[in-house]
């Protein structure tokens, strides 16, 4: 399993996202190194199809694909937790579901 965390330093959420991701991988018994990819320019964001920080990809697929027409740029992603609250990081249970689907 290939696991990537794409991040931008204008958004302080990636350490929390990484901690959630690594914890869930451990809990699910999956030995996977999380490759951290820093996005540093809008050009790189377009090349990497980066809709915002943090973005988690498993085997190349965004675990929560953005909507059609979402621009690729240096920005912070807006996620929805399962209880409806807005969050800078994905709901951990959404991450867990994605990990299980890919396992």
């Amino acid at each position: 399993m290939t696991v990537e965390l794409l991040w931008w330093d204008g958004c302080p959420s990636h350490p929390d996202a990484l901690a959630d991701l690594e914890r869930i991988l451990t809990e699910e018994g999956i030995e996977a190194h999380v490759q951290r990819i820093e996005i540093e320019s809008d050009e790189q964001a377009r090349e990497e199809r980066f809709p915002g920080s943090p973005t988690i990809r498993i085997d190349g697929a965004d675990i929560l694909p953005p909507g059609d027409g979402e621009p690729y740029s240096l920005t912070c992603r807006v996620y929805r937790l399962r209880d409806g609250r807005i969050s800078p990081t994905p709901d951990p249970e959404d991450v867990r579901d994605a990990v299980r689907r890919a396992a």
């Binding site: 302080p12 959420s13 920005t75």
Partner: protein, 169 residues
């Protein structure tokens, strides 16, 4: 950029109806925006503080470069306020970013509390956790309560937490 105890810069901005807003104190100046998940997560708490402290003037200022972040355009700000059926504070676009630079705003949100002499008395985050609505903007409320009671503010400065202000290149 201002620090605790400094005179705060006045500003002359208009709200989403195009109405110029007089700078009056005591005040809470909140740098915020449309696109940042931290600003969105704290939004309802900050709106409630404005409803609860009616003797304080609240100003929401969007400092972001709308050319690079269209979600923060003036049109998008107007649409958001309209969709919310109004806010308890004016929402103003700092198109030149001069106000944000004068205050030294770093993130959205970034909260500044000014006393009736326009002196900065608190600066930082609304509370300790954007994820926890029960925090209820406690740091901001503590600062306001102390200031309005004429007391020293126990925690005058906290680290602002949120998305970096999107400066124009």
């Amino acid at each position: 950029m201002i620090g605790i105890g400094d005179q705060a810069p006045e500003f002359d901005l208009s709200d989403t109806d195009g109405e110029p807003q007089a700078f009056e104190t005591p005040a809470v100046v909140i740098f915020t925006c449309n696109h940042c998940p931290y600003a969105l997560a704290w939004h309802d708490r900050l709106m409630q503080v404005a409803r609860d402290y009616k003797d304080v003037h609240f100003y929401a200022i969007n400092p972001n470069d709308a050319a690079r972040y269209p979600a923060d355009s003036f049109e998008a700000m107007k649409e958001r306020v309209r969709r919310d059926e109004g806010w308890p504070m004016p929402y103003m676009h700092d198109a030149t970013q001069e106000v944000a630079r004068a205050y030294g705003a770093k993130t959205t949100p970034d909260v500044f509390v000014l006393d009736s002499n326009e002196i900065l008395r608190y600066r930082g985050a609304p509370d300790s956790d954007h994820r926890d609505p029960s925090q209820n903007a406690a740091w901001l409320r503590e600062a306001l309560d102390s200031m309005l009671a004429g007391e020293e503010i126990a925690r005058p400065e906290t680290d602002p937490v949120g998305c970096s202000v999107k400066w124009r290149h």
